[in-house]
């Protein structure tokens, strides 16, 4: 987020004249619309907004947003974004990446942009597959995923994007999915957070990993399978008939039944977005036994990298004159004067 002058725009203002080249029915369309709907609500200025991406289906995103856009190379978008932000901290940066781009080839850069806390919104579109290279298993693919590169089924353990982000030192972790009507709220909260805000967006790849998130994202039965978190509110789902409580013996979360709305006596926890330990437990909740935790899981800002860099530069420059001639002649010098043979 940036302190910025709010600009009035409409959804249309954020559309480019470029033909969108995702597969028909791809979840990316819904995410694009959600972002285009959110930007006017934020009062964002297209001239001061930069979308930066790596490589993959999700990384085509900048071409479709009428702002500044930089489609870079595979996995490295966080490094480019860091350079852009340091060069001009006034720019509002949205980073677009995917599970392959952000967690495989670019895992290193993602870790460092999060731990440095460079102020930007990082949207990781997680479709648990390599789409643009035609369907190989990705680092988030579930064990047993059959793909051209894993014909008998994958056997490596999947990475958990939100857990990775938290472990890397992220101070904001949000979760949503492509067609969710709550996605703009998560994006807005991420934008309001000053620092690196990580948003995992489950995205349906209808060609290579169709409906893989249906077990919680499908409209039917969604209430029972989605836990939408709100700061200061009890963690309730299934029409408030169930909640999340802390089992004090095992120090782990458990699902409890709530009768007659009395969540307090059922021991349901009130969501505190600054509680890192609970955030970790929410991220790690095994789906099935538990619902999928969505919304803002963690939000606890701390000073940003670019502010520290600016501060350091200011301190280091204080009282110093940027005189190049003096700099060149610094240190121990000697003067050769002209002689008869070698007049000045």
């Amino acid at each position: 987020m940036n302190e910025m002058t709010k600009i009035e725009t409409t959804l249309k203002d954020w559309e480019t004249d470029q033909e969108v080249r995702w597969c028909p029915g791809c979840g990316d369309y819904a995410i694009l619309k959600a972002v285009q709907r959110t930007l006017p609500q934020l009062g964002s200025d297209p001239a001061k907004t930069v979308f930066i991406s790596g490589i993959g289906c999700s990384s085509r995103f900048p071409y479709y947003i009428e702002s500044y856009g930089f489609h870079t190379i595979h996995g490295r978008a966080p490094a480019f974004a860091t350079g852009v932000k340091l060069a001009n901290p006034e720019l509002d940066i949205w980073l677009v990446t995917g599970d392959g781009d952000g967690l495989s080839i670019g895992g290193n850069h993602l870790m460092h942009v999060l731990r440095r806390n460079v102020n930007m919104q990082i949207m990781l579109f997680n479709n648990e597959i390599y789409g643009l290279t035609k369907g190989q298993a990705s680092p988030t693919s579930r064990e047993g995923t059959k793909s051209p590169s894993t014909p008998i089924g994958s056997y490596d353990h999947p990475a958990r994007p939100a857990a990775f982000a938290l472990g890397s030192g992220a101070r904001f972790i949000g979760r949503g999915f492509d067609v969710s009507k709550h996605l703009p709220d998560v994006l807005k909260a991420a934008h309001a957070h000053k620092g690196a805000a990580f948003i995992e967006i489950f995205q349906n790849c209808i060609v290579y990993n169709k409906d893989v998130f249906d077990d919680f994202a499908a409209p039917k039965g969604a209430e029972d399978r989605q836990l939408w978190l709100e700061n200061g509110k009890p963690m309730l789902f299934a029409g408030d008939s169930k909640g999340i409580a802390l089992n004090r013996d095992s120090l782990s979360l458990e699902v409890v039944d709530v009768t007659d709305g009395d969540w307090e006596s059922a021991g349901v926890i009130v969501h505190d977005v600054t509680n890192r330990s609970v955030a970790h437990m929410l991220i790690e909740m095994p789906f099935g036994v538990f619902p999928m935790a969505l919304g803002v899981l963690y939000d606890d800002p701390r000073p940003t990298f670019e502010d520290a860099v600016i501060q350091e530069r200011k301190m280091a420059s204080e009282g110093k004159e940027a005189n190049l001639a003096k700099l060149l002649g610094k240190g121990q010098t000697w003067t050769v004067s002209g002689t008869a043979q070698d007049p000045v």
Partner: protein, 645 residues
């Protein structure tokens, strides 16, 4: 007093034109520091000089071992000095390993100064000596001055209450004191430096000063007794002005700061620690007041990507590394070429491939610089020939990058990065500014075309944040005007041509002949840090009457327009380089001249003598068939006789 000495320094005249001294010891003995301070005092005495620090890749290799030897060589004189010298006249050996490793280089009749205190049984064993060479007569063809420097140092610093181990750390200062006496150098600058260095530990400063003074006093006493004498080297006549010493890493850093100022841009430097390039990051990190942001990235790739990001946002992005790191940055260079953003990439070359020889010098990244990217990815390449030349070359790199919207690779090497030489401090006002221009309004009527080129073939630079100029760029082939994704065959052909033509059209000065004639029998063509030895060797050969000229190339890509014609004016072209013949290949490719290779990949710079010998072979043929061929040791391309005509 000397415990062992043969004849006094017969080998060294009392007033030589130039003299080469090598300080060698264990990597913990502080030889680089000793050499650095001796260099400073030599510069202050008005001699011309060149240095060659040669140290192991290990930070603290096991004490006393052969591979842990660290050396610093300096050549200084009353005439122009071009190299650190072929063979030392004086070798200071702080332990047996240092003697063993460096003895072969010493001139016959040269002087060895050795610390007998370190020639213990244990250290002799570590250096694989069966007998003590100071005592077994094996050094008969040298002058040997051996005495217990260790003991004398302990004695000198005794009043400061240091333990033996700490006291022995001042051994290098004792030795420096002796060297200062020997070459009649003032001690005050070193006193000042020690006081400043140990400002918070005055005891340590005093102990080191005491050791330095004791070494100096020992020289006087020893002279009275006979075995040692003072050597005077007169100041070199040089152009009037303000001088300082400068290493290549310093000069590159200063040149980049100057280049950014001349372009009127803040500088963003993305780096990742790597030998021998880190020194540039360290220098720039201390120059924040010049609008410099330094960013130590998580890896080489992030370092260049962040620099490109900064260039995209309107700063001058710079990154620096050495061969293996440059390899990692390669994909990002392609993006900078594709998106046509300014960027300077400094490659301080070292021995390769892979990790290779991290602390040794080589010029073997030329192919990597000129050809080493996927796709047709043309990029300007320029090379510095000496530490002081690196300043101007860095400015030139910034100029090309910002004026032509292109990444530029600047080649230096481990030798240039670490070596020091006197430098006439330039006046920044002598350089023509080249302010960068940002496009802020549409460039095609009411439309903005991000890839519409100017007369130089460069596309406009638009800073994000500029109202009404929003656009998208990226690594995918783009339409020749709008920059929108465009894979169509004709467009890719036109864009490939445009990128090629832009780089080939970069205006570079005509190639000059550094020494000799613009045509003749033999041209010795070099690039980079071989300048010094080639210059001296060609000069020596010309004095012997040989028709040989020196051409030294700064602009490797694109090359000066007159290059082909110039080379064809010589009967023979010899290309000495510290690789297996890379520039030779480029010259053959570009100009169809029979450039002949003279290659060396030992991690050590060329010696003047070896170059003279090879040049001589062109002139000692049978009458009527003068110009014997240099034995070609390059198997890549057959050479055709007479192709150089």
């Amino acid at each position: 007093m000397a415990t062992a000495s043969t004849t006094p320094q017969d080998g060294i005249p009392a007033s030589p034109e130039a003299i080469v001294v090598r300080f060698a010891g264990d990597s913990g003995d502080g030889m680089q520091l000793t050499g650095g301070q001796f260099t400073l005092s030599t510069a202050l005495a008005g001699n011309d000089l060149a240095t060659f620090p040669d140290f192991p890749a290990e930070i603290r290799a096991p004490q006393g071992t052969l591979f842990g030897v660290s050396a610093f060589q300096i050549n200084f004189g009353s005439r122009e000095i071009n190299t650190a010298g072929d063979a030392p006249d004086v070798l200071v050996a702080m332990n047996p390993a240092a003697l063993k490793v460096n003895l072969a280089a010493l001139k016959p009749g040269g002087l060895i100064i050795a610390d007998t205190g370190a020639f213990t049984k244990r250290n002799l064993d570590k250096a694989h000596y069966d007998a003590n060479p100071l005592e077994d007569g094996s050094l008969a063809k040298f002058d040997v001055l051996a005495f217990d420097i260790s003991e004398k140092t302990i004695e000198a610093v005794k009043p400061y209450g240091l333990g033996n181990k700490d006291a022995l750390r001042s051994k290098n200062m004792w030795t420096l004191g002796l060297a200062l006496w020997m070459f009649d150098r003032p001690r005050e600058p070193i006193h000042d430096w020690l006081k400043a260095k140990f400002r918070s530990k005055p005891d340590i400063a005093d102990a080191n000063i005491a050791a330095l003074d004791a070494g100096h006093a020992y020289g006087e006493t020893a002279e009275l007794a006979g075995p040692l004498k003072q050597v005077h080297v007169d100041p070199v006549p040089s152009e009037p002005g303000l001088y300082r010493t400068v290493t290549g890493a310093e000069a590159v850093s200063l040149g980049l700061v100057a280049g950014a100022q001349l372009a009127e841009l803040p500088m963003f430097f993305g780096g990742y620690p790597i030998t021998p390039a880190s020194a540039i990051l360290h220098h720039l990190a201390r120059l924040k007041e010049f609008g410099v942001t330094t960013f130590q990235a998580e890896d080489e790739i992030a370092a260049i990507c962040a620099a490109i990001g900064a260039s995209y946002a309107g700063q001058l992005g710079i990154t620096s590394s050495s061969g293996p790191g440059i390899a990692l940055k390669t994909e990002a260079m392609g993006l900078a070429i594709m998106t046509e953003l300014p960027l300077v990439i400094v490659n301080s070359q070292r021995g390769g491939p892979s990790t290779g020889l991290p602390t040794k010098t080589e010029q073997s990244d030329l192919y990597q610089a000129v050809y080493g990217r996927n796709g047709d990815a043309p990029m300007p390449v320029i090379a510095a020939r000496s530490p002081s030349d690196a300043f101007e070359v860095a400015i030139e790199a910034c100029r090309i990058a910002t004026q032509y919207m292109t990444p530029v690779m600047l080649l230096t090497d481990g030798y240039i990065a670490n070596a020091a030489e006197p430098w006439k401090v330039p006046d920044p006002d002598d350089f023509e500014p080249f302010p960068a221009k940002f496009l802020e309004v549409p460039n095609d009527g009411e439309n903005f075309l991000p890839y519409k080129r100017d007369e130089k073939g460069a596309r406009p630079w638009v800073k994000p944040g500029t109202p009404g100029m929003m656009h998208r760029i990226g690594g995918i082939e783009k339409h020749e005007l709008t920059g929108n994704i465009d894979y169509s065959p004709d467009n890719h052909q036109r864009m490939t041509n445009a990128r090629k033509n832009k780089v080939e059209g970069i205006v570079v000065p005509d190639q000059e002949v550094c020494l000799g004639e613009t045509s003749g029998k033999l041209a010795v063509v070099g690039w980079g840090s071989t300048y010094g030895p080639i210059h001296r060797a060609v000069d020596n050969c010309r004095r012997k009457g040989m028709d040989v000229s020196q051409i030294h190339v700064r602009h490797i890509w694109p090359m000066p327009k007159n290059m082909g014609e110039l080379l064809r004016g010589y009967d023979y072209v010899l290309v000495p380089e510290m690789n297996t013949g890379q520039f030779k290949t480029v010259l053959r490719d570009q100009f169809l001249v029979d450039a002949q290779p003279l290659t060396k990949t030992s991690g050590q710079p060329f010696q003047i003598a070896e170059l003279e010998e090879e040049i001589g072979k062109f002139f000692d043929g049978i009458a009527g068939n003068e110009g014997g061929q240099v034995p070609a040791n390059d198997q890549q391309l057959p050479s055709t006789d007479g192709g150089a005509k």
